[in-house]
């Protein structure tokens, strides 16, 4: 049974197809691990054994009848930002602490249709605003590699759950690095698709022009399988793209001979820890052995991505989060004088400090007299940042560099200074502003904690990017390492 804890999705799928294990047995295995290890890690906000086992029984029936899909019967965990009908969906906030979603997000709908078994809902930074999981109303998530360290954020619960093998895979969302940075800090493979590939319907909105859902798993191959199930046109998301379905596994095994990897000068300067740099350099050496060449490229405006993001994302958040008014759903204050007071008190009580800060910044940069100076200016800078990537991709096929400037940091290390925390996403944010696909793959260790290598591809270059990741994972085993289990 323990073989399945660290197995790939293909291995699990084969075992299910050959009746070596049933979905109910597999689901029970992971539910038991959650019961045993989650009290320490706090990776899940909600676990529902009955719902999970009911879905597993249904999957077993499908497997028995034949005609099941590849992922049928495989358990997974959802970031608690995805609405799932009948499941409490909190978004890591007191505002939604008792909210039971009345409908499924498109991603949940699609993964259910693929026969996957939802185990529960993962902890996260409140409304996906954070890089350490410390802003969750439900308490911080511990990094399975070192419980004194953060798992990264905002999809920190998803990352910790998969890293500790409490689930074979998980969903995440990425607005400025929220899949890639926790994947790096927990030693996982995580992928943010091209903007518009995965529907945002039922995914609680933070910054709508940047938010994308994506898979977090143990390997590029697992991510390719999951992305195939998650992606697809959805008329209920006005920015969902109408494109033919893709098999993201199609190019996994292609040789890397002739691949040109662009190394942005700006990502290899000061600011990156020496241990991270050593691991990234070693990964690049491995790629050269695989037949790739590396070329220096430049993203001259990438240094402006964090400040541009902290105008655009809060502006969009202040608008999106205005829906939490204590009228139709969510927290309502117990005492108030009138309607305005009810709004102000409900929101003051329901939102945590970081969410309030971003709403206030967003309100300010959109307010009369400041819109042009801040919001419009940031949108112009965003175009410069996106254009840099287009220029760089003229001389390379993919871009590589560090995912985060350091390995996982200690709790409290950056929480007192918001700007220091924002700089955790210095290498990931530009990718969201440009709408490009990006991923993080494990490439070594520093201070006994995982280091992530970031890959970025041109728009819709997911299959090629996954190929680049997969070939590396065939000749290295960083992605297969798992943290030691805490003594029982």
């Amino acid at each position: 049974m323990t073989d399945f804890v660290n197995a790939s999705l293909r291995e699990i799928a084969a075992a299910l197809a050959q009746k070596k294990i049933s979905s109910v047995e597999l689901t029970t295995l992971f539910l038991d691990r959650i019961e045993q290890l989650n009290p320490t890690l706090n990776a899940f906000i909600t676990v529902d054994r009955d719902k999970a086992l009911a879905a597993a029984h249904a999957a077993d029936a499908k497997l028995g009848a034949g005609g099941a899909a590849t992922l049928t019967g495989i358990p997974l965990a959802h970031k608690d930002i995805f609405c799932a009908e009948g499941w409490r969906t909190t978004c890591g906030s007191k505002m939604l602490a008792d909210f039971v979603a009345p409908y499924d997000a498109h991603v949940v709908e699609r993964l259910n249709a693929a026969g996957m078994v939802p185990l529960g809902k993962c902890n996260m930074d409140e409304f996906a605003m954070g890089s350490s999981n410390e802003t969750s109303f439900f308490g911080p998530v511990k990094n399975p590699w070192n419980p004194a360290c953060v798992p990264g954020g905002s999809s920190g619960g998803s990352a910790a759950a998969v890293a500790a093998r409490l689930a074979p895979a998980a969903t995440g969302t990425d607005t400025g690095g929220s899949i890639r940075q926790p994947a790096a800090l927990c030693g996982l493979t995580g992928l943010k698709p091209t903007y518009g590939v995965v529907s945002r319907y039922g995914m609680i909105a933070f910054a709508s022009s940047l938010d994308q859902g994506g898979p977090m798993a143990k390997s590029a191959e697992d991510c390719a399988l999951l992305l195939g199930a998650m992606a697809g046109f959805d008329p209920r998301d006005s920015t969902s793209l109408e494109r033919p379905a893709e098999d993201y596994c199609r190019d996994l095994d292609k040789p890397l001979q002739g691949l040109r990897i662009g190394l942005p000068r700006e990502f290899f300067g000061a600011g990156m820890d020496a241990g991270v740099r050593a691991a990234v350099d070693a990964a690049l050496a491995e790629y050269r052995k695989l037949g790739a060449t590396t070329v220096e490229v430049s993203l001259p405006n990438s240094g402006l991505s964090v400040p541009a993001y902290y105008v655009i994302a809060p502006a969009e958040a202040s608008s999106n989060l205005s829906r939490f008014d204590g009228v139709r759903y969510g927290h309502r204050a117990a005492d108030y004088a009138d309607l305005d007071d009810m709004y102000a008190k409900s929101r003051a009580e329901g939102f945590g400090a970081e969410v309030k800060r971003r709403i206030l910044i967003g309100t300010y940069v959109l307010s009369h007299g400041y819109y042009d100076a801040y919001y419009l200016k940031a949108q112009k800078v965003r175009r410069l940042i996106a254009a840099d990537f287009q220029e760089a991709f003229k001389s390379c096929d993919v871009i590589a560099g560090p995912t985060a400037p350091s390995v996982a940091f200690k709790f409290g290390a950056k929480s007192a200074d918001p700007v220091q925390m924002y700089l955790s996403d210095i290498y990931t944010i530009a990718v969201n502003l440009a709408g490009l696909p990006g991923m993080s793959i494990p490439c070594g260790f520093d201070k006994d904690l995982p280091v992530g290598l970031q890959l970025v591809a041109p728009w819709f270059g997911e299959a090629r990017m996954l190929n680049v990741a997969h070939r590396y994972q065939l000749v290295t085993d960083w992605h297969a390492r798992m943290p030691a289990e805490p003594a029982a």
Binding site: S318, M342, L360, V419, G435
Partner: protein
């Protein structure tokens, strides 16, 4: 520019978030820290650059003007803080 305590309470009022006098000073300091950080955008030459609102340039889709949703009033109202006879209840706004 730097925000005053009055600015902070004006922004909080616009955002419909109550801020106690005790929180106001810390909020002011943190917002000013963030604003100082984003101030570096002002130095960038963006003459002639079109603002970029979205990552992918797509035209808004139109759908046919037909009913596609079913009536799920009960399911949506069961999660509301206060309802009566199919209506959401709020404090009186018109005397």
């Amino acid at each position: 520019m730097s925000l005053s305590l009055d600015d902070v309470s004006r922004i909080a009022r616009l955002a419909r978030i109550e801020i106690s006098p005790a929180e106001a000073e810390q909020t002011r300091a943190q917002l000013n820290g963030i604003l100082a950080f984003i101030e570096q955008l002002q130095a960038v030459d963006t003459d002639g650059i079109e603002p970029m609102a979205h990552a992918v340039d797509v035209v808004q889709r139109l759908r046919s003007d037909s009913v596609t949703e079913t009536d799920r009033r009960d399911a949506f109202q069961v999660i509301a803080p206060e309802t009566e006879a199919g209506l959401y209840l709020v404090p009186k706004v018109i005397e």
